[in-house]
Symmetry: C2
Subunit: 491 residues, 2 copies
């Protein structure tokens, strides 16, 4: 992987001086086109060997283009707020919106490679991590992002020479730390681990560009030209990207499906309900006060048919909680800032710290429910969403989140009854919209979407609970009980 | 202040049970109207004596209204990210947007009162802090926010009784900590300090509502009714709030003003420029690498006439910096999320942590420049902006920010020359818009606005530097030199 970056590439000063002005102008032009069109974000990762010109490259890009529209982030040690969230949270925080260039100095590659070099992780763990990275970068590419990954390389003798030279001069001595020398001693290990990581993550969507870092002119011109070429290709591409055709999800050939297996006649008498409600609310309250709760977080997702009783169920859950501890996130149309980011960005924003309880009233599942059925996104987009969501939830669970997902199911007849009730009661009319009636006409399409969703996204660490909700009492108690059980298992 | 909250207020169960259903319905109705109209945010502060029902009140509001549209924040210990910013940053972070209700359990009052009780601050410091609070709340009110401040009170014998009772029962014992008893011993001091704070901050815009906390029914009904009444008043108010007329700023009666005192013929020959540029860029670079730099932050603000060379000057500054250390914030039209918040919110978002360098390409001064001249906001709004900005900058400076503010000034003739140049050079055409020509027609109005701005917002800790910018070389060197000097003084 690094062979061609150890050939001793060089550019002479005359060539460099001749090429740079035109390159800079073209880069600046491309950048302004990018800002004006705001069709996609540009994400530039800069990694590699110490002393190979990583920071020089970052500074150069800021100098050659308009730095006002470049966001550079040095991803150093994570902060306390970041440590309480999944590893990727801090990167989601700094993703550039459409029209902007984001440069990450240090990235999601740094920690896995360093861990492998220091021997605190196994090769197979590095591989697993890199698989997750491939999926993440594919998601970004599917969302339209231009991803450029530069790996600045030096051969071992070159690095030694470079460190020694830096140390010799007063003005640059500060740049060589003991840490650098300690790391130099691990050059071979580092090379091996990073080669392994790079091989596995050099994909069609986001290939690595390994750049020999020894000659500043060669290095700068290579990075600049690669960036320009990629920018132009994306800017000039007038046809939307074509995705491989996905085989359509086959509906069950008989008419049996998951939702039909639910016994919607399940009900609780009022007396029993009141007793059970109190019991499980009390239990939930005690659970959130246990010492161990400060090491977990809870994310409860509520989805369901219109008028299935989500709001009422949520109130019974929050009724058991201290208001300082929970947050309810009602999911409506995305804001302008959210639309300029990948689909899942607006949910990453709300990932809770440990000890916190977040309730999503509708959720990231909108993509495979309403957006699928109403055709708000392409088939390719909602098809890829299943895997992206599973990834997202796996990261959350891995970080200590209890993920409880509820689908509140009512029959078509029960829904009609509730719609009619709402029409009657002045106070409830606001809850019924034209859209609710329209959705009702697509009952079967929604059923199919729900079944696919449950099948594809119910996992051990983030299971779906289907809730028979024709009877509100039964539904609320089932939800509270399930929540308690899931939290108990986590504590 | 607390006398009428020690009278032994009580509501009997029959009255309570009769009143609550209608109150809840009316609250819910008001809440939905609030969401639908999204004209203003509602901010509810809950403070007071321990055991007086603070958390019960917060939970009750979440139960009585739709908790999906209420954001409750327990403001406990600040996080590491928060500690690196001014005291108010964490509160700006959680301000509710228009249409939402935000409940703060613990607020900007907590720390100043506690500090006074513990004797770590003087009475005069508490007073000063409360003055700042009054200005902050006035700003929120001017932005349209409904602010409700509930202080839950218990007399000393009542508090003793309450703590003892809580401790007696297994189910509530956890709620009484040693800390509570320690605080009880300081009841008199606490009462005195909070009375002092409350008196000074009970204003027409945001009066305190002291609620006797002993009887839960009285307490709940009082809070619920006060909230309803305030919500209704704000929702039903069809005429925009009338502000007291401000006396217009008088222009100087002769034609002499600050900008005219600048000698725009100041210039540097290219040779000198190159030498000076290198010198000050080097000095700036070294300064950001000094050990002390990790305890300060730099916020550099660039404003100026169109075509005065802000972009070029910014590039000369960033050219001296490590790209990982700085961020440039170009200020354009506010996003949807920003428009739902007070004017300064979108700048608070970008307040840097220590050790960071943030450059604002245009800034919060837009309000007293373009918004004033073009009539984008009312005279009352830009008039109050001067004081709000001074407050904002004082907090930043107090937290260790070096605030350098540059006005780049060119003559009307020089601007015309530059506009014409831009028209000629294909590559620079994008930089010239219709708006630039329109702004030019209001040259005198802008001049007046700039003079008022400098006069009213140039402070010891955040001085304006007027930069003679007809000669770009001279301007850039002056900016770099000023920046270096300001940072040196801070280190």
């Amino acid at each position: 992987m690094f062979e061609s970056a150890e050939l001793g590439h060089k550019i002479d000063k005359a060539t460099y001086d001749q090429e740079v002005p035109a390159l800079r102008e073209a880069l600046l032009r491309a950048q302004y086109e990018l800002i004006e069109k705001a069709r996609f974000p540009v994400l530039i990762l800069v990694g590699g060997v110490d002393g190979a010109g990583k920071s020089e490259t970052v500074n150069l890009l800021n100098e050659w283009m308009d730095p006002r529209h470049i966001q550079t982030h040095g991803m150093g040690e994570p902060t306390q707020e970041e440590l309480q969230r999944p590893y990727m949270w801090r990167f989601w925080r700094v993703l550039p919106p459409k029209g902007k260039i984001g440069i990450l100095f240090g990235s999601w590659y740094t920690q896995p490679i360093v861990n492998r070099v220091l021997g605190s992780s196994k090769a197979v763990e590095l591989d697993q991590h890199m698989e997750a990275v491939v999926r993440f970068e594919k998601m970004l590419a599917d969302e339209g992002a231009l991803i450029l990954k530069f790996w600045m390389h030096l051969s071992k003798p070159q690095q030694l020479k470079r460190l020694t030279a830096l140390e010799k001069h007063q003005a640059t001595r500060w740049r060589v730390t003991e840490e650098d020398w300690r790391r130099f001693k691990m050059y071979d290990k580092f090379r091996k681990a990073s080669e392994r990581a790079l091989r596995r993550t050099s994909t069609a969507e986001a290939p690595w560009l390994v750049v020999e870092g020894n000659d500043p002119r060669y290095r700068s011109l290579t990075v600049g030209k690669s960036l320009l070429q990629a920018l132009r290709a994306f800017l000039d591409n007038k046809t939307p990207p074509r995705h491989p055709l996905a085989p359509p999800l086959a509906p069950a050939i008989d008419s049996l499906h998951l939702l039909k297996t639910l016994d919607l006649s399940l009900a609780l008498p009022k007396k029993t309900y009141e007793k059970e409600l109190e019991k499980y609310q009390g239990r939930l309250n005690m659970l959130t006060r246990e010492a161990g709760f400060k090491n977990v977080s809870v994310m409860a997702v509520f989805e369901g048919n219109d008028a299935a009783g989500k709001g009422g169920a949520i109130r019974r859950v929050t009724g058991a909680l201290d208001a300082r501890r929970y947050q309810i996130i009602p999911i409506a149309a995305p804001t302008e800032e959210e639309r300029a980011q990948p689909y899942l960005w607006r949910f990453w924003r709300h990932v809770p710290a440990h000890g916190r309880f977040v309730i999503f009233d509708r959720s990231w599942y909108g993509r495979v429910l309403v957006e699928r059925v109403e055709g708000y996104c392409s088939e390719y987009d909602w098809m890829r969403a299943y895997a992206e969501i599973v990834d997202f939830e796996e990261q959350l669970a891995h970080n200590g989140a209890v993920l409880a997902k509820f689908w509140l199911s009512i029959s078509k007849e029960e829904q009609l009854k509730r719609f009619q009730e709402r029409e009657q009661i002045a106070f409830k009319q606001f809850k019924l919209t034209e859209e609710d009636w329209r959705n009702r006409e697509k009952w079967e399409a929604y059923e199919a979407a729900v079944c696919d969703m449950v099948e594809r996204t119910s996992t051990r660490y983030a299971p779906w609970s289907l809730v028979e909700a024709n009877d509100k009492y039964y539904a609320r108690v089932k939800i509270l009980k399930t929540l308690c059980e899931q939290i108990e298992r986590a504590l």
